[in-house]
């Protein structure tokens, strides 16, 4: 289960958050924990270099892409390596939409489309589409395989 996907800017403000299967009262805690994790560790990290953390049986993989840091939290089948797949799909979709590692401005300009991509990538707590081209087709309301 992918418990959370979170986008934040350099100051730790949340840009997008998606929770699944996390009780409402826990979400704020998770949010602060992730933001702090990023603040402590993401300085000077290269774009798309993956960082890892865990808490009890929950895994966290996070990275930075341009001005935006991305956090993915999962458990069970979504261990640190599966989450790496998820975050890889997300970063490549974001890069695809923004054309390059985004500045915060650019990210916000493309906000709607990024939300749609995320909708195709993570579907009710499970990873769905991973191929960049397929995602691109789907957010334009085209079938996954063209004929």
């Amino acid at each position: 289960m992918i418990l959370a996907v979170l986008f934040a800017n350099a100051e730790g403000n949340i840009l997008i958050k998606r929770f699944h299967g996390v009780p409402a009262e826990e979400r704020l805690h998770w949010r602060s924990f992730l933001v702090k994790l990023g603040a402590d560790n993401l300085k000077g990290v290269k774009n798309e270099e993956l960082l890892v953390a865990c808490h009890k049986s929950v895994y966290i993989v996070y990275t930075i892409l341009g001005d935006v840091s991305i956090y993915v939290v999962g458990k069970d089948a979504y261990d640190e390596l599966a989450l790496s797949e998820v975050i890889f799909t997300i970063t490549s979709a974001v890069k695809d939409v923004c054309g390059k590692p985004p500045t915060e401005r650019r990210f916000l300009d493309k906000y709607g489309r990024i939300c749609l991509c995320l909708d195709e990538i993570v579907w009710k707590g499970y990873l769905e589409n991973t191929e960049k081209d397929r995602i691109k087709r789907l957010i334009r309301l085209k079938p996954p395989t063209e004929f």
């Binding site: 100051e11 403000n13 916000l108 499970y126």
Partner: protein
């Protein structure tokens, strides 16, 4: 970040997009302040539907108010230092949608929607159901695909439960609870309940539309439908109907579709459409609740494995493997030939989808281990061979999953047998590569290249190469795999699987895999030990050799920058550590790791919990684990959870066995040897035995740890040393009075070095409140220990021993107390008890002599007097600690016969009965209940060991099964549970200026000591529930520390009341005055120091929670405030407020207050989060 100031979420919804985009290069130029976008919008495009207008306007008004207020909060929260800029409000966006929906055939409206309105709407947390009609209208009338894609997105969001478990979409801007708003709007707002059926209706119609041109929309409507609340069985059955309807049409596994596989473009239109639909319906099915009773699930999922769409294959496999966990037999039968070479499962091996292969691994593992298939070894071995092939997978994720499956770890349930056989499999089995898998004889054929490989060799090689990776997730995962390997290995040794011979050459298995069962050595331990010593020569081909080389690589990984990776490595090392291996290396690794401030408390406790798990797996490890725990106690006293640490001491002490007990106690006493933390001192960093607590917080924590250790020693020293007064044959101590102190110490240590050691340590830390522990020991031990303690306490009370006690300086740097003024008062009750015991013993000896000399029989009166003294002393003693009343002889062994005579004569049973003051005060109820030891009620049936164990609070029922918080933490850890959010450390909060939970918590910890005195005085009585805390607080007062789970954190006048009311005068007369003269908070707790009675494992549980709660409330100085404005909760965790309402502020987090109301509000909620700005703080 000056230039990023113009780019926030608020900007996104600010104004119209054109200036924003143009300013993207130079973001300093602020977009024109505007309500312009919406006004211009409505002026150019506005043809609002007039008949609805008035209704909507009211609704909008309310929404508008709420949201702009909410935004005020958000603005200050998210971007405090920004100049004012008026964002597009939600209601403006909503109005635009309504208006644009009406003109959706125009290109300009479409563009507005796609570029402006929809993206901005995404910023909000949730979508208003009143938008649904317009969205549905757009869905029907609009042709533009981009618009439609957004429409599906928003319809799905309206369908999804934004509440507790749903997908809460959206970014940082909270939205109100729309349904509540609609309720308020008496004119008739739109709620979810109104629109959901309509949305489902329309989407279902689309999902079943067979028009070819429509099929992309079918996929999206199916997807949106899965967000519908699955609790509604009508909707659910309808969804199943649609999905299975589609699958029925497309799922026919006609052979021609196979051509389409991986070809993608080569397929004809029809089959592509079919595979697209199959994909969408399988994906939808995956999101719906699994119905194992429905054979259609399995049927279509199995068909789906052959789908041309890789994502469909993955979803199908996930469904199948989930069903397999429940019914492996049915799945195996349904899969039939798919598993054989050329079958669909074999194709998955080459599928470019990692998660599909992971599911395949799980599926194969479940089936190949299924008991239901015991009679079909052929099927099991087929699946097993696919699993083994996955070990060679290029993706680490897949390979590791396969390794874990082999190791017997495939769900959260831990079964020792499964794990043990996992280790056996790993070390013994041979991987025959795919070509060779059919026949054994082919082994010879492909000897050079495809020579069958021992599984372990492959796995080790793979792991070693993973440890060379630069990717932190890979390192973390590899370390985790090694940890799981250690668990399986530990299980194998615990079950004594004799064949696990790590010294043997693995290739011997490969060559003689059929006959190796009998001829291998039967002494794995000895061989392993020797081979690990002679690693260099053992060569790489023994299991021990391979393990050694793997562990070498694992150890180097502690150089990783990431603390989480290192934590996992340390856990792996702990698990791979055997009970007989030398652990110097591990010790130094851990010691140097713990000196790193980067370790968070959560991580450290995780490792500590790992020690628990390790102990549970192999109790032989007790001593080693204690040594490791000692490093934690010395290195990071401020960060570890003292409860969990203490539980570890306790369990290890029980598990250590007779030989280990001394060592176990040593590991605890080392804490008492720690010199006081020296501010700023860095000297201790390299040595294990020096403490590093250089800041006040860890100094405080160390103090708590010391108190825990003192308490622990007092309680358990007799148990560990197996020294009990009631089992001792040594005559009472009068004879020893003649000895001088040195000789006495010598006598003591020659008699029982363990106890003597503990005693010395306790004496040295007398200022940490160890007199209580010492008294317990004195009462429970025979001579010469009792005398030794008596002397010590005596001198301590007189204050004359100061020069001899120079250690005191070291142990806490405070010496004024030893002058006798402070301590005498505290010590006198204890000395009194011992005094009474000794003088009664003297009297008895005199009497006996008199009787002997005069050759007189004992008269009944004399016996009665003796018996009464005996009982009185027993009562007294019971106030200090638990002793078995039937066995304990305060008058010494010689009294036994006389008391026995009196008892038989008067037919007195020796049971505790109501005469026990503990019973009289009601304390014992609590104790007996919590410890659940029936022995207490039937003293005649007492078994020696049980009594002694219980005396040490170690009743075996208490070890793993009750509700102490530490126990919960351990059990939860062992069960692998927990998705709750980690606590954020209170130090180094850089990112957010507001106070976090932990700050508050830390503050409460510091504040309680001041407050508790006041509380104690002001609280006339407390609830009966708090009987649990009727124990001493001498230590907490004296040291100004509190150790919540052991000592009550605040003294409680309840105890005093109760005692004076319940226990009658005799006790007070017995021990006379000093007690009465003391101020209330000190006196009675001093007398009624009963915590040693309790089984701390059970008894402290509820109590420590209680006290924490108390502290939070009491210390927080409850802050009250009143609501400035109305606030409507936008989520489950939020609380609606009415302006003027009184609230109690619990804490602040990220710009939100957690508040409590006096009365539940309209929605029945009492507590929740509200924006800080909404509350007026006095």
């Amino acid at each position: 970040m000056a230039d990023s100031s113009g780019t926030t979420l608020m900007d996104l919804i600010t104004a119209d997009p054109t200036p924003a985009t143009s300013s993207s290069s130079s973001s300093t130029s602020a977009p024109p302040p505007s309500a312009t976008s919406s006004t211009s919008l409505s002026s150019t495009l506005g043809k609002p539907a007039t008949e609805k207008k008035s209704k909507r306007a009211t609704l909008m008004q309310i929404q508008n108010d709420t949201i702009s207020a909410a935004k005020a909060a958000v603005r200050t929260n998210i971007m405090p230092q920004k100049q004012k800029k008026k964002p597009v409000s939600y209601s403006q966006l909503a109005r635009s949608i309504h208006e644009l929906a009406a003109t959706s055939d125009q290109r300009s409206s479409q563009r507005q929607l796609v570029q402006h309105v929809f993206p901005k709407l995404a910023v909000y947390n949730s979508v208003d159901p009143s938008l649904a009609p317009s969205l549905l209208m757009l869905n029907q009338q609009c042709e533009d695909k981009s618009v439609l894609r957004y429409v599906y997105y928003y319809l799905a969001r309206i369908l999804s439960d934004t509440g507790s478990q749903g997908l809460s979409s959206g970014g940082g801007i909270p939205t109100p609870n729309w349904d509540a708003l609609a309720d308020i709007d008496a004119v008739g707002g739109v709620t979810r309940a109104d629109v959901v059926p309509r949305i489902i209706e329309q989407l279902s119609a689309e999902a079943t539309n067979a028009d070819v041109e429509f099929h992309a929309r079918r996929l999206q409507s199916l997807k949106a439908l899965t967000y519908a609340p699955s609790t509604n069985s009508d909707i659910l059955s309808r969804l199943y109907e649609i999905v299975f309807g589609i699958l029925e049409k497309v799922g026919d596994p006609s052979q021609k579709k196979k051509k389409g596989i991986l070809g993608g473009k080569g397929g004809d239109k029809e089959s592509i459409i079919r595979s697209n639909l199959q994909y969408a319906s399988l994906s939808a099915l995956r999101r719906l609740p699994l119905d194992p009773g429905n054979p259609a699930f399995l049927h279509y999922a199995v068909l789906g494995i052959s789908s041309a769409d890789p994502v469909a294959v993955r979803n199908a496999l996930e469904i199948v493997s989930e069903i397999a966990a429940r019914d492996p037999y049915a799945v195996a039968m349904a899969l039939g030939k798919q598993v054989q070479p050329g079958g669909a499962l074999q194709d998955v091996l080459h599928l470019h989808d990692v998660l599909a292969r992971v599911s395949l691994a799980r599926l194969c593992c479940t089936i190949s281990r299924a008991k239901a298939l015991d009679e079909r070894p052929d099927i099991r071995s087929q699946f097993n061979s696919v699993l083994y092939q996955l070990l060679l997978d290029p993706s680490e994720r897949v390979c590791f999953e396969a390794i874990l499956c082999v190791l017997g770890k495939y769900d959260s349930a831990e079964r020792t047998e499964e794990r043990a056989s996992g280790w056996y499999r790993l070390t013994r089995e041979i991987l025959k590569l795919p070509d060779a898998s059919s026949k054994e004889s082919s082994k010879d054929k492909s000897q050079k290249i495809k020579r069958p490989q021992p599984l372990i060799k492959l796995v080790m090689r793979r792991l070693e190469s993973s440890f060379r990776s630069f990717s932190r997730p890979v390192l973390h995962a590899a370390a985790r795999v090694v940890q799981e390997m250690g668990k399986s290995r530990a299980a194998a040794f615990a079950l004594g699987i004799q064949d696990v011979d790590e010294g043997a050459h693995v290739n011997t298995f490969a060559d003689a895999s059929d006959l190796n069962d009998s001829d291998e050595s039967t002494h794995p331990e000895s061989i392993r030990r020797t081979s690990s010593v002679s690693n260099g020569t053992a060569g790489r081909d023994t299991i021990a050799g391979m393990l050694a080389s793997l562990m070498e690589v694992v150890r180097t990984t502690v150089a990783c920058e990431c603390v989480y990776v290192r934590a996992m490595v340390i856990k792996a090392l702990i698990w791979m550590q055997g009970p007989f291996d030398s652990f110097d290396e591990l010790e130094s690794i851990i010691a140097s790791e713990l000196s790193d401030p980067a370790w968070s408390a959560g991580l450290l406790n995780d490792v500590l919990l790992t020690l628990h798990a390790r102990f549970k797996a192999s109790p032989d490890m007790a001593v080693t684990l204690l040594e490791i725990a000692r490093i934690f106690a010395t290195k990071v006293p401020g960060k570890v959870d003292a409860d969990v640490l203490q539980l570890l001491w306790k369990t290890c002490l029980v598990g250590a066995g007779p030989d280990g007990k001394h060592k176990a106690l040593e590991a605890v006493t080392i804490v008492l040897d720690l010199p006081p933390p020296q501010p700023g001192s860095m000297l201790g960093l390299t040595s294990v035995d020096r403490v590093s607590a250089s800041d006040p917080k860890s100094a405080l924590a160390l103090q708590r740890l010391v108190q825990a250790a003192v308490w622990f020693l007092g309680e358990n020293a007799n148990y560990a040393a197996s020294e009990y007064a009631w089992e001792s044959a040594t005559p009472p101590g009068t004879a020893l009075m003649m000895l001088d102190a040195d000789k006495m110490v010598a006598a003591a240590s020659s008699r029982n070095p363990t106890l003597a050691g503990a005693l010395t340590r306790l004496q040295r830390c007398a200022f940490s409140g160890s007199w209580e522990a010492l008294t317990t020991m004195a009462i429970r031990s025979g001579e010469p220990f009792r005398l030794q303690i008596y002397e010590f306490l005596h001198t301590l009370a007189q204050g004359g021993l100061q020069s001899q006690l120079s250690d005191v300086h070291l142990s806490n740097g405070e010496d004024q107390g030893a002058s006798g003024t402070g301590l005498g008062v505290l010590l006198s009750p204890m000395i009194k008890v011992l005094d009474e015991m000794y003088s009664a013993q003297d009297d008895l000896i005199k009497e006996v002599r008199n009787h002997d000399n005069a050759k007189k029989e004992w008269t009944d009166d004399e016996l009665k007097k003796l018996y009464e003294t005996h009982e009185r002393l027993l009562d007294l003693v019971s106030l200090f600690c638990y002793v078995p009343r039937t066995k304990y002889l305060p008058l010494g062994p010689i009294s036994a016969k006389l008391i026995d005579i009196y008892r038989t004569r008067h037919n007195i049973s020796a049971s505790t009965g109501l005469s026990d003051p503990a019973v009289a005060t009601g304390i014992s109820d609590l104790i007996y209940e919590s410890s659940k030891t029936p022995a207490a009620a039937e003293p005649d049936a007492l078994d020696d060991d049980l009594v002694n164990a219980w005396a040490a609070n170690l009743g075996d029922d208490g070890l793993w099964g009750n509700n102490a918080p530490a126990m919960n933490r351990v059990n939860e850890f062992l069960a692998g549970a927990g998705t709750d959010a980690p606590e954020v450390d209170e130090e180094n909060i850089i990112s957010r200026p507001s106070v976090s939970y932990d700050d508050m918590w830390a503050k409460t910890l510091l504040e309680t000591t001041e407050l508790e005195e006041d509380d104690a005085k002001s609280l006339g009585s407390s609830s009966p529930d708090s009987t649990g805390s009727v124990e001493t607080s001498i230590s907490s007062h004296f040291g100004g520390m509190s150790y919540p789970s052991l000592f009550s954190s605040r003294p409680n006048s309840y105890g005093a009341d109760k005692a004076s009311r319940g226990s009658g005068p005799s006790i007070y007369e017995g021990i006379s005055s000093p007690i009465r003269e003391e101020p209330p908070p000190y006196s009675s707790p001093g007398m009624y120091r009963n915590e040693s009675f309790e089984n701390p494992l059970a008894g402290t549980g509820s109590r420590s929670f209680e006290s924490q709660d108390d502290e939070r409330i009491s210390s927080g100085n409850p802050q009250f405030g009143s609501a400035l404005y109305d606030f409507t909760a936008g989520g489950d965790d939020e609380l609606s407020l009415t302006a003027g309402e009184e609230v109690e502020i619990e804490y602040e987090v990220d710009g939100w207050f957690y508040v409590k109301k006096k009365r539940p509000g309209r929605d029945g909620k009492m507590a929740g989060l509200v924006p800080v700005l909404y509350v007026n703080q006095p």
